[in-house]
């Protein structure tokens, strides 16, 4: 275990030194600034609807929509970071000759993978949680606090960890560029499945629903994200809930309780598969 920690420390240090975090931080600051601006405009706009005859709470509508959008952006940024930290962990580093000196040490291959996953998962999970917290505070100060905060934050963190694990598995099988493309196709496939599910729900189309269901089990980062999204407005009721559910980012479904244990098992299985594939590879 201590071997994995040494590797994880080294991986985090590497991303610090290579200024990955400076870029990420800059992007995040730009994102937050845009978010604050956009959200405050939106809250200003919906103030006009206050006290409307349909009994819709405009602040809830605005807040849920805009925070839902923010979650989407945070998921994307988290995915970029998680992918970046794991993209070439096995084959890429082996091709560059960085890997061999490390894994001939007693730590070995499994601990190396464990360390890389630990580093990427921790860094990207912390990143999405911090960014989400910042967005929640901005939204709250502007006029709406979500019904749940911890659940969506954990769901986002979980989604980032799932993506890190998938990208690590990809790195054991594919070259760096191919893996980068593959991870983003997988990411896109997950989002598409989620979107199909929402369309299916609103049109009551069973086939679309089923495709989405399968998609969210195969790629549980999508299910986690949808789950987190639904928790934002868990307690909203009445006409407001109906309208929130019509929005493209508000129509998420709360997942069954099995989602969390499933996600943990999924990450473990993906990591095990990566370790198996890595252990058979000639370097």
């Amino acid at each position: 275990m201590s071997g994995a920690l040494v590797v994880a420390r080294h991986a985090v240090r590497e991303s610090l030194r290579r200024r990955v975090f400076v870029v990420v931080l800059l992007l995040s600051v730009v994102f937050l600034a845009l978010y604050t601006w956009g959200a405050s405009e939106l809250f200003d706009e919906v103030d006009a609807f206050d006290g409307n005859e349909f009994d819709v709470q405009p602040d809830t509508l605005a807040g849920a929509t805009v925070l839902g959008l923010a979650m989407f952006a945070i998921l994307f940024l988290g995915a970029v970071l998680a992918t970046f930290l794991t993209l070439g962990a096995v084959r890429g580093d082996a091709e560059r000759g960085l890997l061999q000196p490390l894994i001939v040490r007693p730590v070995g291959r499994v601990a190396y993978l464990g360390g890389r996953l630990l580093a990427a998962a921790t860094v990207s999970a912390v990143y999405v949680v911090v960014l989400f917290a910042a967005c929640v505070v901005v939204t709250g100060v502007l006029g709406w606090w979500p019904d749940r905060v911890v659940g969506p934050a954990l769901a986002l963190a979980g989604a980032a960890v799932v993506i890190a694990a998938l990208s690590l598995l990809g790195s054991a099988v594919l070259s760096t560029t191919a893996n980068g493309i593959a991870v983003f196709m997988v990411f896109g496939a997950g989002l598409t499945a989620g979107l199909l599910g929402q369309i299916g729900e609103s049109l009551d189309a069973k086939t679309l629903d089923r495709i989405a269901d399968v998609g969210s089990w195969v790629l549980p980062f999508e299910a986690l994200y949808q789950h987190g999204l639904s928790l934002l407005t868990a307690d909203v009721e009445g006409p407001t809930a109906a309208i929130v559910n019509l929005g493209p980012f508000g129509g998420a479904q709360e997942a069954p309780l099995a989602l969390w244990p499933y996600a943990v098992a999924y990450v473990a299985a993906v990591a095990a598969l990566a370790a198996w594939s890595f252990s058979r590879r000639d370097l």
Partner: protein, 276 residues
């Protein structure tokens, strides 16, 4: 035996047979040279010994543990033929990382001594990306020496070094031998191998074609004598035969101007072995 390999066969996925039944032993404190043309299988053999490549058949053990097992990896230091350290890391940081990975408690003192040993004492805080290729190779050697491993697997450790650097590596190798550490050395520099190695293996197309001590391999080839009647070659004769040959020639009335004992060099042995 510090390193023992039996019947190693390696077929790569592409169908290339890189090793075709190789036996190898390296005893304690022994320095064994591995020679052979490009593509002969030298690096493959070393990679099997450190667990980077899985043999298709046969087995290898390092200090009695199966090659690739944690116990085997803990006992060796490896310098790869093509390797890189992270460009952002300073020389000292690279060594520190490897100390942590290998569980060495040598601390700053060990790092300083190793950098001194490979002639990088002044480059301690320099980042790898600002180092020349040869400096990086020196750092690679220092890295391999961390924790005083029982066995060193060095794959062409001098390929990027200047002549002084090569001499320095020779001295390091002899020092390792004095300390009782064993070395398996891959090299294309025959003179280097001849100067330091206790035993030499020449492999070609995945098989061992010649093995022995360098001085045994470099057998006498004959005695050449210049007389008034021209140059005469006594094939197969050695140094010990020279006085007899000269006295016989003199007794026969010849004038002897020069006597040379001809030895085949390791190079001759090598060229012959790999062209068969």
């Amino acid at each position: 035996m510090v390193l023992e390999a039996r019947g190693l066969i390696k077929r790569y996925g592409s169908g290339v047979v890189a090793l075709d039944g190789v036996d190898l032993e390296v005893g304690e404190g022994e320095l064994v040279g591995l020679l052979g043309p490009n593509g002969a299988g030298k690096s493959t053999l070393v990679k099997i010994c450190c667990g980077l490549v899985r043999p298709s058949a046969g087995s290898a053990t390092v200090v009695g543990a199966p090659a690739g097992s944690p116990a085997a990896r803990a006992a060796l230091g490896y310098l790869a033929e093509l390797f890189r350290f992270p460009g952002w890391a300073a020389a000292d940081e690279v060594l520190e990382l490897h100390q942590r990975l290998s569980g060495s408690d040598g601390g700053e003192r060990e790092r300083g001594e190793l950098l001194e040993l490979v002639g990088l004492a002044d480059a301690r805080g320099r980042s790898v990306e600002t180092m020349s290729k040869g400096m990086q190779q020196r750092l690679g050697l220092a890295q391999a020496l961390i924790g005083r491993p029982a066995l060193l697997l060095l794959d062409e450790p001098t390929s990027a070094l200047d002549p002084v650097g090569r001499r320095l590596v020779r001295e390091v190798l002899l020092e390792l031998k004095r300390r009782g550490q064993s070395v398996l050395l891959n090299s294309h520099l025959l003179s280097e191998v001849e100067l330091v190695c206790d035993r030499v293996l020449i492999i070609n197309r995945g098989g061992v074609v010649t093995r022995g001590r360098p001085d045994e391999l470099a057998r006498p080839r004959g005695v050449e004598v210049e007389t008034a009647g021209g140059t005469r070659l006594f094939e197969g004769a050695g140094r010990e035969d020279a006085p007899r040959i000269v006295s016989e020639l003199v007794a026969a009335g010849e004038s002897v101007y020069e006597v040379r004992v001809l030895r085949s060099t390791l190079e001759d042995v090598y060229v012959q072995a790999v062209s068969e």
